[in-house]
Every structure is written in C-alpha cells, then in structure tokens.
C-alpha cells in the first residue's frame, strides 16, 4: 500500500527520521493533545502521546463538594454530551443510596440522554468532515446540533453545561410542547442525515482517506480497553445499553450498528447509523411515557416544595440539611457504568457515609482511547492521523478530567 511507494526512495536517500510536534494547539485536532511524531517521510514510525492539558482536577474538586454539587462538574467532562454524564453519575449515587426513581424520570433520562448522544455524534461527524476539507457537511451537522441544543435548552435551560440530572430525579419535567418541537427537529435531522450521507459516504476523497486507515483489530481494541463505537467498529458487539440495560433501554427497540473492518470508515458509518437509532429511541420513548412525578420522594434525598420550605419548619429543616450537609449517602463503594458518547462511561464512587463523596473516579473512555492511540497512528501516514483522531472522538474534558 502506502509503504510500497516509499520503499525504493528510502533505499536511495540517506535520511533520518524527523521528529514533529503535533502540538497541543493544532487546528485539525479538536482537543488539546500533544503528539510527538517520529516521521520517516510521510510515515509515522513512532508516536508519543501527551495528554493532560485540560486537567482541571475534577476528582479532587468533587471530594470537597456535596453529592449534588458534583453535577456541574460532571457537565464538563464530556462536554458535548453533558446529559449522559449527569445521568451516569446520578445512577451511581442512586445505587449507593438504594433508591428507585419514578418511571417518568427514567423515560426522560433516556430521551435526554439520546439527545445528547445525537449532539455528540453530530459534532464528531461534522468536525471529521471539516478536518478533511468538507465544510458543507460540517455546517449541516452543526445545524443539526443547533436544533438538538435548542431542544435541550428548552428543557434544561442551557445548551452545553446543563446540570439537569439530580440525585433521585431531574431538575424539571419536559416542556409541554416537547413532542411538537421534536416532531419538527427529527424531520430536519433525518434530512441532515441523508444529506451528509450523500455528501460524504461515497465521496472519493472521503473514502480514500477514511477506508483502511486507523485500523483497530478486535483483540487490540479489547485489550486496550476501547469501548463504544471504537470497539463496535471492529466487530465486537458490546453496548452497555443492550448488555446491561438501564433507564428504559430495555423497553425500547433499537439496533446497535457493528462494523467489520475497524477502520475510520466503519466508525463513521457506525456513528451515522447511531444517529438514526437515537431518533428511533426518542420516538418510542415519547410514545410510551405517561405523566407522573419525576423525582423520588425519599426524604433523605427529595427537596420539599418551596411553599413547604418557606411555611413549615419541617420543610425548612429538610431543605436546609439536604442542601448544606448534602444528601447523606450510606458508606460503601459502587462501580456504575452507562454508555457515554464515546464508550463506556463509568463512575467508581466511594462514600464514607457523609454528605460529601470520599472519592469519585471517572472511567473516561477518551483517556483510555488515548492510551492506545499510538498503535493506530504508527505505521500509517501523517495525513491519516487527522481522520483517525476525529473518528475516535476524544473529548478533552473527559480525557483530562
């Protein structure tokens, strides 16, 4: 393949490998990561990855905040799909507390989670196209993302840093016109999906750059801890939503696309198909859900309504203690995992029985992907780094915590 073109020239010219810094701020890598590449001509023979430019001390900060105060920090992990982080964390704490949330809360969490997944995949596909030169595809994808963010903003109040999840429930119910707005949004999203397919999937340049590059073998994927789309593109059908259903994923029909070659093209196609599947999930959820409460009424967790807080001492004490001391989570530890935008997002939480976490560890799929990414680059061309890095969708906030 690529090596064949180069071999004869290598034999004639005495050359040294060149060390190139693909430094932390690079226009074609979305996220601050530094690669020290050793190049022989255009071929990457060694790659050293350096992450941590966005390390903000998430885990240390969480140890000094109450359980509920951690939610804004979780927003800023995978910041293109913040709702998935919120709900993943809420699920972990609810397991430690041993409380069940009402059904409607689970339906809404599924819907909002899938909206976040739409946002994540649209960003990845769009940015991927952009970095390969397809500006139009990028603009379409971003239009789709804007529509999704409009919906999210209507429900949660913010586009990106939403802090919508709560322990034992949610901040607020869906807006009354949510179904209507979704009906419009989904039409446009399906159009965007089709258009992007037309623009990219059979585009000669796109195919040449994406097919056969950044190949992950199933063994390498599993060994290097890859999950999510990266692993599914290799043919290993592992999706937390199917294998260990949580929220309402067990009650809706959806397919999980699985690739064959493990190259960039397969990851792109998987994400494109997951867009369609997410839309399918949201449709079914909206059809099946019924009105009801969205927050648990467990007195250890639930804040009383404001009129009770201001007018009764019981409500006042309850609100006061839960806010200032935090929800008292029984001592113990739990590892709770959900399907994030990039793979299995796990929260390993240790509680010492008080209102503040003792430890929260985020099993961030992006950091683990970066651990093995040198194997995807080495042996390939310099130009292949761009599509590979795009399709694995490393999000800086999640990688560096």
């Amino acid at each position: 393949m690529a090596e064949d073109i180069y071999k004869p020239i290598d034999q004639d010219i005495h050359s040294e490998p060149m060390i190139l810094q693909m430094g932390p701020s690079h226009p074609a890598t979305h996220g601050t990561v530094r690669f020290t590449l050793t190049l022989e001509g255009e071929k990457v023979i060694k790659c050293e990855t350096e992450v941590g430019y966005l390390h903000r001390g998430f885990e240390k900060e969480c140890e000094e905040a109450t359980w509920t105060q951690v939610f804004p920090y979780t927003d800023r992990l995978n910041y293109v799909s913040p709702l998935l982080n919120n709900f993943g964390y809420a699920l972990a704490v609810e397991r430690l507390l041993g409380i069940e949330v009402p059904e409607r809360c689970d339906w809404i969490r599924t819907i909002m989670g899938e909206l976040s997944r739409l946002s994540d995949h649209l960003t990845c596909i769009g940015a991927g196209g952009l970095e390969l030169g397809a500006m139009t595809a990028f603009l379409y994808a971003i239009e789709g993302r804007e529509l999704v963010w409009d919906l999210i903003e209507q429900v949660t109040g913010a586009r990106l840093t939403v802090s919508y999840g709560r322990i034992g429930g949610l901040k607020d119910d869906l807006t009354p016109d949510f179904a209507e707005r979704w009906a419009y949004t989904r039409e446009r999203l399906i159009e965007i999906h089709e258009t992007t397919h037309k623009l990219l999937t059979r585009n000669r340049i796109f195919l040449d750059r994406m097919e056969g590059t950044g190949v992950i073998t199933p063994e390498m994927g599993v060994s290097y801890g890859y999950t999510g789309v990266c692993l599914r593109s290799t043919g290993v059908a592992y999706d937390v939503r199917k294998d260990h259903p949580y929220f309402k994923y067990g009650e809706v029909d959806f397919d999980v696309p699985v690739g064959k070659h493990g190259d960039n093209m397969d990851r792109y196609l998987c994400r494109m198909e997951e867009l369609v599947q997410s839309i399918r999930i949201i449709d079914q959820c909206l059809a099946k859900m019924k009105p009801g409460p969205i927050n648990t009424d467990d007195p250890r967790v639930a804040l009383p309504s404001k009129d009770k807080v201001y007018n009764t001492i019981e409500g006042m004490i309850s609100h006061f203690k839960i806010i200032f001391e935090g929800v008292q989570v029984p001592a113990g530890e739990v590892y709770s995992y959900t399907e994030g935008g990039n793979g299995e997002l796990g929260f390993y939480i240790v509680s010492n029985g008080t209102g503040k976490p003792w430890k929260i560890h985020v099993r961030s799929p992006s950091l683990i992907v970066m651990g093995g990414i040198h194997k995807l680059f080495e042996g390939g061309l310099l130009a292949d780094i761009i599509p590979t890095f795009d399709t694995v969708n490393m999000i800086g906030g999640e990688c560096d915590k």
């Binding site: 009764t312 019981e314 006042m316 004490i317 203690k321």
Partner: protein, 512 residues
C-alpha cells in the same frame, strides 16, 4: 453487675446505669433533649422513650435504670412512632427560623428531624408568637418561640452555678424561660446556657450572626484567660478565630467555661504586632536578626546589667527556650516574671491568676532564687542596675500606677528588646520589637494551677510575619552564633521533660 440486652446486643453495665447510658455503651444512639450528663434528670422532653419488654408503657431511658435481664428495643415500631410524635409536637410551634438562627448546623432539632422524623407538617393554623429577642442576660439572648422548655438552662443555674436566676413562667403553649423578677442571667458562666441549649433559644450575643457553624474549623486548644486552663474548641474560619467553645475535661473544667475566658479570643486579632520593628520602622526578619544580634552582643559585654522578663503567658516550650537563651546566649542571671496581674476569682472555675502557664514557668525556672519579682525590675531600672532589657510579652503584673512608672523608666534603658504579640506603649518604646504569635498559631503546653500539663494544637499559620517565641529565640541565637537547634515542638517537649526532674509531678496529661 446487671446484664441488659439492647437491640439484641447483650452487655454488662454498672449498677445504677440508665438505659440511655447503657445504649450508648452498646453503640446505639438514643435521641434526647432535656438530658445532660452533668445536670439532674427531669425526663420532660420524652424524646428518649424506648420499649422495655414487660412494660406496657414506653420508658424514658434517661431516667430508668437497667435491671438484670432487662430487654430493651430502641428501634421498635412503637418507639419510632413515639419519636415522630414527640418531634411533631415540638415542631408545631417552632418558628421557621433556620436561615437566621445561629444554631443551624449544630441544632438538635434539625439533626433529629432528619434522622428520626422526616414527615411533613400537619399544622393548619398559625403558630404561637412570643418575644423573639429577649435580652435575658448581658451575654445571652433568648428567643421564646424556639424554646422547647427542656429546662437545661434552669437546671444549670440551679445546680452548677448555684445562682438560680431562671425559671419557667406561664404555662401551656405560652410557657417561656425568664429570669426571676428583678434578676438577670448575669452569672459569670451565663454563655454556658447557650452551649447546652439544644436549639437556638439561648444564643451568645458575642457570636450572634458572626459565622455559620459549618464553616468553622475546630482545633483543640486551651483557654489563656486564667490559670485554670479550661479546655476549649478553638473555632476559626479563614484564619480568624470566631469563638471558643468548652471542651469536656472531667479533671479541669467538665463541660463549662467562664464568659470572660470565652472573650479572650478577641486578643488574638486585636492590635497584633505582625512585623519586626526597629525604633518604629518596619523591617523583615533577616534585617532585624542582624540588628538585634549586634545590639544584644554589645549589651552583653556590659556584664551584670541585662534583665530578662519571662511571661507566664508563653507555653512551656517557649519558656524552655527562653531559659536557654537567657542563660547560654545572653548570660544573664536577672530573670523577672511578667504576666497579667491578679483579678477576680470564684470557687468554681475562675482563678485569680490571669495567666495560663504560671506553674509551667515555675517548673522550668525551678531553681531557688532564679526568678525575681517584677516590682524589683522597676526599681532596678530606675536605679541603673539594669541597663538592657529583653522582655517577653507586654503584660505587666503590677497596678496601674506602678506600670506607668515602668513605662517611663524604660527611657533610661540603653537597649529594650520586646518580643510580643501586641502593639502598644511598650512596642513603640522598644528599640527592637519582634512579633510573636499567639497560642492559636503554634503548638505548645500550658501547666494549669493544679499542675496538669495540657497540650494545645495549632489552628492556623502565624499572622503576618510573627513567629512562635521558641523560633524567635532560635533565630537570634543563630544570628549570635549559638546553636539552639530544634525543628519541631515535640523535640523541645521531649528535652524539657527529660531535663527537669520537677516536671515529673506535672506530667499528667489530660483526658482528651
């Protein structure tokens, strides 16, 4: 020794133990408001009711004593219902004051509601209104609406201080705590009633609205108001002491401390000398060490006239190094005792000696004739027998006219070095003023009037550029080419205890 089974756990207790104490021994908390280990048991709040097998009615566990073979359940359905009922009744007329109540964060009602009640209010009428800011005493305010009439304060005034100021007036839902006509809650321990009040009915005027309690960090320390050495929780926020709260010590102060001692925390942040000064000009440590070393060196050559004032306000470790500095570096034999003059004394906790470490000072400078009276110092300066003076702390143990004499006599001195916490007349007169830090900013030991040595911990870093006394002595010694090297307080402590034979009798460490 009777055996009792509590929640399935069998334990053996002393005869006469109440069920509540036995449950605590077995590791089970029984909620209570009116019971206090140091006061008599009225059993009026009914929060501690537990189920005793064989008895149809629930028993107040604070009062009932265990009998051999008794089976107790503190978590049965009946007990839980009773706890919810008691809390509901107490909360019916309780005002919705948490946002403005000082007790929030350390309030028994809040804690027990979350742990044992957690039910919504069933009240559909107005709550009873009472006077909310009643000045019940010069240091304490009373809020009638918050009061749950547990009578801890009334019993405190009857049994601990013996002053009998308080009583309950009116009855039913109009009942309140008031002082007897013509009286006021003005005994010297009045703020202790605010400590023991389980709710925010009695609050300290000094601490009112000052700081929320969950923001406070607590350090174990010792009060420096008098030689009783009451153990305290020194509570601080952002490197500023907000209040003292008594710490339980059965050998020294039990659960109590006096109001005057409580207010001594203000001295830690008032008029502090925080930078080394020389004749009114601020310097840094590097500069002043050199200057001090020069001046002291020259003064020492003039043998026989160097006076050294040690203070019973300083810790044992500070004084140990003061002794080494005075003897080895300055070579002086003239050691005078400073400190606060005597004051009010009573038969409970307040001692006349208003210095925390007099016994410690006497133990360290234990040899015959080593210590001289402060009055003698004033005479010596005036007569010229002392021409250079190194003084620890600014307190002077003489009456006002005498202290005025002292201050004017200072003009006669060739060299006056002051090592103290506070600004004042003396620091402006000093040729060199070295900033020392308070007991809140270092660790150390005080020996109280009874000979009990008590350690205190460090709450925050020394303010400004001040340093503990012992570190200042070390710096000057080093600048004068003497070796006094210690890195940690415990090294000094070890040497101190090994060194002085007399400290063996004073080495009883207090209960934590």
């Amino acid at each position: 020794m009777p055996k009792v089974t509590i929640n399935g756990t069998e334990i053996e207790v002393e005869k006469g133990t109440t069920i509540l104490r036995a449950a605590a021994q077995a590791g089970y908390e029984v909620p209570h408001f009116c019971y206090h280990p140091a006061l008599s048991i009225p059993a009026n709040c009914r929060m501690c009711l537990v189920e005793v097998e064989g008895s149809w009615k629930l028993q107040p566990s604070c009062y009932s004593q265990v009998s051999d073979g008794m089976v107790v359940n503190t978590k049965s359905e009946r007990v839980i219902k009773a706890q919810k009922a008691v809390l509901e009744f107490i909360l019916i007329n309780h005002p919705v004051d948490c946002p403005i109540c000082d007790q929030a964060g350390e309030c028994k009602l809040q804690d027990y509601y979350m742990a044992y009640d957690a039910q919504e209010s069933r009240l559909r009428t107005e709550k009873t209104a009472k006077v909310k800011v009643f000045p019940i005493g010069p240091e304490v305010l009373y809020d009638g609406e918050r009061c749950i009439l547990c009578t801890r304060c009334v019993r405190f005034c009857e049994e601990i201080t013996g002053t009998n100021e308080l009583t309950i007036i009116q009855r039913g839902d109009a009942a309140e705590i008031r002082p007897f006509p013509g009286r006021s809650l003005d005994n010297p321990y009045s703020v202790c009633t605010a400590d023991i009040c389980p709710v925010g009915a009695l609050t300290s005027r000094d601490f009112r609205f000052k700081c929320r309690v969950w923001l406070l960090s607590s350090t174990d320390s010792v009060c420096t108001g008098c030689s009783n050495g009451c153990n305290i929780h020194l509570e601080h926020f952002r490197n500023e002491v907000q209040r003292y709260r008594p710490r339980f010590n059965p050998d020294v102060n039990d659960y109590w401390m006096c109001d005057a001692g409580r207010l001594t925390y203000k001295a830690i942040h008032t008029d502090r000398l925080t930078r080394p000064m020389s004749n009114g000009a601020e310097l840094n440590w590097h500069g002043v060490s050199g200057t001090a070393a020069d001046k002291l060196g020259r003064a020492i050559e003039d043998k026989g006239t160097f006076g050294f004032v040690v203070s019973p306000q300083a810790s044992c470790e500070d004084l140990f190094l003061a002794r080494r500095f005075a003897k080895e570096v300055l070579g002086t034999e003239r050691i005078y005792v400073g400190g606060n003059p005597d004051g009010f004394e009573d038969d409970f906790l307040i001692k006349a000696d208003k210095n925390p470490n007099t016994r410690g000072l006497q133990t360290i400078f234990g040899h015959e004739g080593e210590l001289r009276d402060f009055g003698a110092l004033i005479d010596d300066i005036e007569s010229g027998a002392v021409t250079s003076l190194y003084m620890m702390e600014t307190q002077i143990p003489v009456a006002t006219e005498e202290s005025a004499r002292f201050v004017s006599a200072l003009d006669k001195l060739d060299l006056f070095v002051l090592q103290a916490q506070h600004h004042g007349e003396l620091s402006t007169k000093a040729h060199i003023a070295l900033p020392a830090c308070s007991h809140a900013e270092t660790e150390g030991t005080f020996v109280n009037f009874d000979g009990i040595a008590q350690e205190f911990d460090r709450a925050f870093a020394p303010l400004g550029e001040s340093l503990p006394h012992w570190q200042i002595f070390m710096r000057l010694a080093r600048a004068m080419n003497h070796k006094l090297t210690y890195t940690f307080v415990h090294q000094i402590r070890k040497e101190m205890f090994e060194d002085s034979a007399a400290t063996e009798e004073a080495s009883q460490t207090p209960a934590e």
